[in-house]
Assembly symmetry: C2
Amino acid sequence: MTSDAVNLTQKLSTFSEHWSPKIISRFNDCDVMVVKAHGAFNWHKHDETDDFFLVLSGTLRIELRDRDVVLGPGELFVVPKGVEHRPVADEEVHLLLIEPIGEPNTGDAATAVSKTKI
Amino acid sequence: MTSDAVNLTQKLSTFSEHWSPKIISRFNDCDVMVVKAHGAFNWHKHDETDDFFLVLSGTLRIELRDRDVVLGPGELFVVPKGVEHRPVADEEVHLLLIEPIGEPNTGDAATAVSKTKI
């Protein structure tokens, strides 16, 4: 574990795969992660936690059942716990995510992508 | 409460005072805040929570008892719970902060600045 500044751009430069969250820090019982995304993720919800999204570059559309929330760089949205959502990136987008440690990114351990520490 | 995108630059444009955190969203039991800082804050610690700092613009020096952590735009640092620190901004800096709801920003309710929702 580094004990000093975490540079988001530098961390993002170390990988290229999509929808594969990388743990860059920890805040209380949460992982702080960066991820690159392109295309549509699955519809899912987190029954026990809110879902924090901050766009670092690109545009993310978070589809909800009743509307879309569109985020550009420097914009954030917190999906409330239990609310179904589908993140979609028509072009590559870079995100900062915060989720409780061990929370499956799909809301379901059976389909979750493992989170790697970088 | 807005239910859509939260634009950090727009939120920061609505106030000018320093060291006065503004609540812009909520994530589980935490406030998500922006703050403008200039000069030196007090030495303090949070016994029950880590302290999340992400620099949006400018430079922040987080003085620890054994070293300084210097953060530029797009850099974050999480001060572990119980660790004494003093944030210092030689020029104005804009920050994204995350702290549990009700946590005093000085670590001490007697000296804390109240957090306003914007």
